[in-house]
């Protein structure tokens, strides 16, 4: 019993940190620009695929550096050519634009790399066992993911709060006209922020693509959950994204591990009740819908999320 709790804890935290890496870019983009980037998970997928291609030539470490930059440049291109034109039509149009982008990017990935999963692997340097727990091996690569996720959080926080660039970015959101009047090129700032956010998604893809499978469905698999995380944590709140990622990561992992139903628990206490009803449903089946239930509840009762400062 303790084993399964510990495993669920470790796996849940890992999954949560992976979600955080993706969510951080998304919440930044929203916080800075007011744009909810539907296609965020698609940039994540691009990161994984680019890493695959680059690692064929330059190895994993080369991919780790270059792939996020490429994804960020693609993000900048998207913002410059597409999103910028759509700002003037309002938030709904922005949402629709990024929504359509999902179809385009996901299909372009198939067009370039095909429909089958690609063989993007964990580098040999990290392919060992860090430690053993209750007979199961904890791979070093997982430790690397955790390390990178924490590093990301620290780096973004410092960038935003401690640097001049970060201050300008934060000011641009609430007072773009003033910042523009002070001589800063606000549209360029927005392009930079979008590029930075998508670059972070790309980095998450580099990390996750070889840990999970790199295949065309990965954007659609991650996309909705990342939204849940960002909404739950509070749109625009980095700390909220961290907390929400961990919550969702742990909740879904624990739920999947609970291979029994409420009726089963009652039965083991000697009460025969509810086997044929909702209580008889295996709790692990609730797993997939729990994040969305949480999201809907938060949106109804506390739309600004756990740690957000304003309603979207």
């Amino acid at each position: 019993m303790i084993e399964s709790v510990v495993f669920s804890l470790l796996n849940g935290v890992l999954y949560g940190m992976l979600l955080f890496m993706l969510a951080s870019g998304l919440t930044l983009i929203f916080g800075m620009m007011g744009v909810l980037n539907f296609a965020h998970a698609s940039f994540y997928m691009l990161g994984a695929y680019c890493a695959y291609s680059i690692s064929q030539v330059l190895g994993f470490w080369g991919a780790l550096v270059i792939a996020p930059i490429i994804v960020g440049l693609l993000g900048a291109l998207t913002e410059r050519v597409g999103l910028r034109n759509v700002h003037k039509h309002g938030h709904v149009a922005e949402l629709l634009f990024t929504f359509g982008l999902v179809y385009v990017i996901d299909e372009l990935v198939i067009l370039v790399w095909g429909q089958l999963p690609v063989d993007y692997r964990i580098p040999e340097a990290l392919d060992f066992t860090l430690f053993s727990l209750y007979g199961s091996d904890f791979p070093a690569y997982r430790g690397f993911i955790l390390f990178m996720a924490v590093a990301m959080f620290v780096a973004i926080y410092l960038l935003l709060v401690r640097t001049r660039v970060g201050m300008i970015i934060r000011a641009s959101l609430s007072h773009p006209d003033m910042v523009g009047a002070l001589g800063h090129n606000v549209p360029r700032i927005f392009t930079f922020v979008f590029a930075f956010g998508t670059g972070l998604a790309g980095l998450a893809g580099v990390m996750a693509g070889n840990y999970f499978i790199t295949e065309p469905g990965m954007a659609f698999a991650m996309g909705p959950i990342v939204f849940v995380v960002v909404v739950l944590g509070g749109l625009g709140s980095l700390g909220g994204a961290l907390v929400a990622s961990l919550i969702i990561g742990l909740v879904t992992t624990f739920a999947v591990g609970m291979n029994y139903s409420i009726a089963d628990m009652l039965a083991s206490a000697g009460i025969a009740f509810g086997q044929d009803s909702v209580l008889g449903i295996n709790l692990s089946r609730f797993g997939p819908m729990l994040p969305y239930l949480l999201m809907v509840l938060i949106l109804i009762f506390r739309p600004r999320g756990l740690m957000g400062s304003r309603e979207s």
Partner: protein
């Protein structure tokens, strides 16, 4: 260029248009006789109703929903379960009225989910609908009795309980059943726009504050509109269930919700018949293209994104924007610029399609070096020359198109000025 709802409304208001629509529906199978055509037209009918119901939210009330398939799908599932009940002699209800079961189911869920969703507006509302849609799709895995698990729920539409002496086994009979429902549902939804609720839904969309200051609660207006749109979505689901005799979990999910959003937007949000155009066009393209090209989703995505950027009023919006110039006798001014646009557009399109098709061929084909057939020619995807030509065509077409677009914009400016001058004289 401001587009007024009015001229389009004048067209649809005439009974003649509705009668013409009925005639078209009756006559179509005699023009397009193959069974695949009849099947496609039946699908068009289903999605016309679905898209019109979606437009009650997005176009009429300004409510962007990412989860409308919930009411479509749940309506369809309920209809199929009802059909199965008749198959098993547990219930007796005529097949012709089965879509009503779907409709009432859609209405019920519209009331339940709508009561929580419509408390919020704008992007928050959109996110709630996304969450509910994903939640319902994920819950399919819990309620396997209702959703039928992996293989879904199926039934037999030949229930032998009917009002009219048809079995509804043959494609053509189902087509006419769907056609009849499409007309009825479309007419009801059209009349709805002429009711106090319909007008206030528009009002809430345009100016929620002003709507409050004429005495209306924006939340309640949107809630009722939401529930009614669920009703019609459920009818569409019921028609879908009858047509395909099977429903699966993805029918309530995000992909299906995305599809109806795409259709409605491409057709045009601001005009009643916009979604009809969208549903017909997208269904046609989906069926026709998916046979020819691996990339039909990519073409859709590109079309959608380009329309969001440059043609946000949709196809119907473009059509309607020409009504005023037509009435003012100025429509001929557009003839030359539009004609000029045809060649560059075709060039750019040809170049783009070639690149996309070659790309897919290289990635997906078993033997990429085998030539593909495109525009009646044989093209080898692996040859550099082919790529150079395609890129050149695309680039040239784009450059020319940008120039023509400038001319078209200029012409519009002139026409608008001329119309303003005419109006001032009145």
């Amino acid at each position: 260029m401001s587009t007024s709802n009015f001229p389009g409304g004048a067209v649809v208001r005439h009974a003649a248009v509705w009668i013409a629509a009925i005639v078209v529906i009756i006559v179509m199978p005699y023009v397009f006789t193959s069974s695949s055509s009849v099947s496609m037209m039946s699908q068009m009918g289903v999605f016309i109703v679905f898209a019109l119901s979606y437009n009650m939210l997005l176009g009429e009330a300004g409510m962007l929903s990412f989860g409308h398939a919930v009411y479509f799908g749940l309506g369809g599932f309920l209809t199929l379960h009802a059909i199965r009940a008749v198959n098993d002699d547990v219930w007796s209800f005529p097949l012709e009225l089965m879509p009503l079961v779907g409709g009432l189911g859609g209405l019920a869920f519209g009331v339940i989910f709508g009561s929580v969703s419509t408390r919020r507006a704008g992007v928050t509302f959109a996110m709630i609908t996304l969450g509910i849609g994903a939640m319902v799709e994920a819950s399919a895995n819990m309620f396997t009795n209702f959703f039928g698990g992996e293989s879904g729920v199926s039934g037999n539409r030949v229930t032998e309980v009917t009002l009219l002496p048809f079995s509804y086994g043959p494609q053509i009979e189902v087509y006419y059943l769907i056609g009849a429902w499409t007309i009825v549902a479309a007419l009801l939804m059209f009349l709805l726009t002429k009711t106090p609720l319909g007008r206030m839904a528009n009002a809430v969309r345009d100016n929620p504050e002003r709507a409050q200051f004429v005495g209306y609660s924006t939340t309640i207006a949107r809630f009722i509109q939401f529930a009614l749109s669920g009703f019609f979505a459920g009818i569409a689901g019921g028609l879908f269930a009858i047509l395909f005799e099977i429903m699966t979990a993805p029918n309530v999910g995000l992909i299906q919700s995305g599809a109806v959003l795409l259709m409605t937007f491409i057709g045009g949000l601001g005009v009643f018949f916009g979604p009809i155009i969208g549903a017909v066009l997208v269904t046609y393209m989906q069926i026709a293209l998916s046979g020819f090209s691996e990339g039909w989703i990519l073409y859709f995505g590109l079309l959608f994104v380009l329309m969001v950027m440059y043609v946000p009023n949709g196809i119907a919006g473009v059509i309607v924007s020409h009504f005023a110039p037509w009435q003012a006798g100025l429509a001929h001014r557009f003839a030359v610029p539009y004609l000029l646009a045809i060649v560059p557009a075709l060039l750019a399109l040809a170049g783009l399609v070639t690149m996309i098709e070659m790309g897919y061929h290289l990635s997906l084909a078993y033997d990429p070096s085998r030539p593909i057939e495109l525009f009646g020619m044989e093209i080898t995807a692996t040859s550099v020359a082919a790529w150079v030509v395609a890129v050149a065509l695309f680039a040239a077409g784009l450059v020319a198109l940008r120039w023509v677009a400038g001319r078209i914009r200029q012409r519009w400016g002139e026409v608008n000025q001329a119309m303003d001058a005419q109006r001032a004289k009145q």
